[in-house]
Symmetry: C2
Subunit: 297 residues, 2 copies
């Protein structure tokens, strides 16, 4: 994959996906669904206030006759209905409508009839930047505030599994820190060093881990050479694992708002991919996120 727009074509080669939206009565959400339907990558099931959904669809010329709308006027109940459909084998992708992320996540991690697969749900974003020679992923920039060491293992496993599904059988994973040396005072460097050794001892498989690496060393061979870093990952990372949410969110926003990058993002670790677009996302970004979710099987 050279461009994120390839995701739309990849999704088309996969079996058609049924995407269920929890609390779909929202203009920007329905526009994203309309674009994804027009691109031919999903068939939607809309849960929410039926009348509002129909009214909004009319304003954007989105023909509702051909797909299912399930009336559920209570937005808090919508995600539980959506999760129920997925567990009944009637939908393949979950998408957040006009409810908070926390509300959606609660329905996903519910003990009874939830969707949990991994112990850790994690946000994963693919980026296309004109300043880097390939598509790369960043995780976790949105869900885990201060992941413990074990949670970081899960975040890595989630990300590596996704790259496998996209055809990269041995992704290079950079563990981000502010320096490339191990310092007792900087927890990110300690976690990174331990995770790298776990990979060397086969406790984390299917990828090449290296860290601590600062961002320049992760993505620039020249910067890594300046520092004398010998690494299979440095300068060529497929995935960047950030130390925490402060760092991940700033990096994510910097790439989008101060780097001109494109992105596609989903939540991993549940039985199905979860799409969480936000109001501030561009139309393109929303379509690519749905395409990413639809490309994974």
């Amino acid at each position: 994959m050279n461009s994120l727009s390839d995701l739309v074509n990849i999704a088309k080669t996969k079996p058609s996906k049924r995407l269920v939206v929890a609390a779909a009565e929202d203009l920007t959400v329905l526009k994203a669904i309309q674009n994804a339907v027009n691109a031919g990558i999903i068939s939607p099931i809309l849960i929410g206030n039926r009348q509002k959904i129909i009214d909004i669809c009319k304003t954007i010329g989105f023909e509702t006759a051909n797909f299912e709308i399930i009336d559920e006027p209570d937005p808090a109940a919508a995600p539980y209905k959506a999760v129920g459909l997925i567990n009944a084998g009637k939908a393949d992708i979950l998408m957040k409508g006009i409810i908070s992320t926390a509300t959606l996540v609660r329905s996903v991690i519910a003990k009874d009839n939830g969707l949990r697969k991994s112990q850790t749900l994690s946000h994963f974003a693919l980026f296309e930047s004109k300043f880097y020679h390939k598509i790369f992923g960043v995780s976790d920039a949105a869900l885990n505030i201060a992941p413990t060491f074990d949670e970081k293992v899960n975040i890595i496993v989630n990300a590596v599994e996704l790259m496998h599904k996209l055809g990269n059988s041995n992704p290079k994973v950079a563990l981000l820190a502010p320096v490339e040396t191990i310092s007792e005072k900087i927890e990110s460097t300690i976690h990174a060093a331990l995770l790298t050794m776990m990979n060397k001892r086969n406790q984390i498989k299917g990828c090449i881990l290296d860290g601590p690496l600062s961002l320049d060393n992760a993505i620039s061979s020249e910067a890594a050479k300046h520092k004398g870093i010998v690494s299979d990952v440095a300068g060529d990372a497929d995935i960047i694992i950030v130390p925490d949410l402060d760092c991940g969110n700033a990096l994510y926003k910097s790439l989008l708002f101060l780097g001109g990058a494109k992105s596609a993002a989903i939540v991993l670790g549940a039985k199905v991919p979860i799409v969480l677009t936000s109001r501030a996302d561009t139309e393109d970004n929303k379509l690519l996120s749905i395409a990413l979710a639809a490309s994974l099987e």
Copy 2:
């Protein structure tokens, strides 16, 4: 100031500065000095291994006859000599040569004959990005690992003082966090909220603080509007204060390596500005950092 290259012109309007380099026997350092001398913004005093300095200067055609070289073959002793010169009123800017940042900082914070002014030394970087409508600063991306609340106050004061010296009498300061709401689980949001209130109560003066703000809200009015944020700072920040080094370093490197930004960076909080260029900096970046230091009086 619309462009960082203006710094060279600003420096020329100020009284000529004497820049002392601690352990100057390094090719990239001497090239940076040569460029700054050619630009007419400093006169250098080079401390270090005299013969090595002269030999390197010859290889780059840098005429040493017109400036002082102080022989000090021990790189660990060089910064103490440099600090001594500054305290004796014989130099105006300190620059790191081929010694570690830690070695330089030790000489600056030494109780006897040091250069400490603020309780906190902090790194400050100015950026020029084609994705933002003005020059903006980021602090601290290099020195303070996990600043305490009090240290953050000092980091802000250092940054605001610098902006005052550059002619911005009331800079807008965004306190970065991953979200714009206050959450007990996210320390950066708590610090940001408290610092904002300190500004409102006149405990931090000479600036308009606002936070927590995520990066998109700090620099994009549109993103802030999407979130319903009413703020004098949102979308128009002059300074971005990061929560910690993990975040600051990733943002700094992202701007340079994945955003095509230009930067100029110095260390603040000592009696004189300190220039710490690194091998990975571009020639341009090094010159601009020296120009920034030379623009502050």
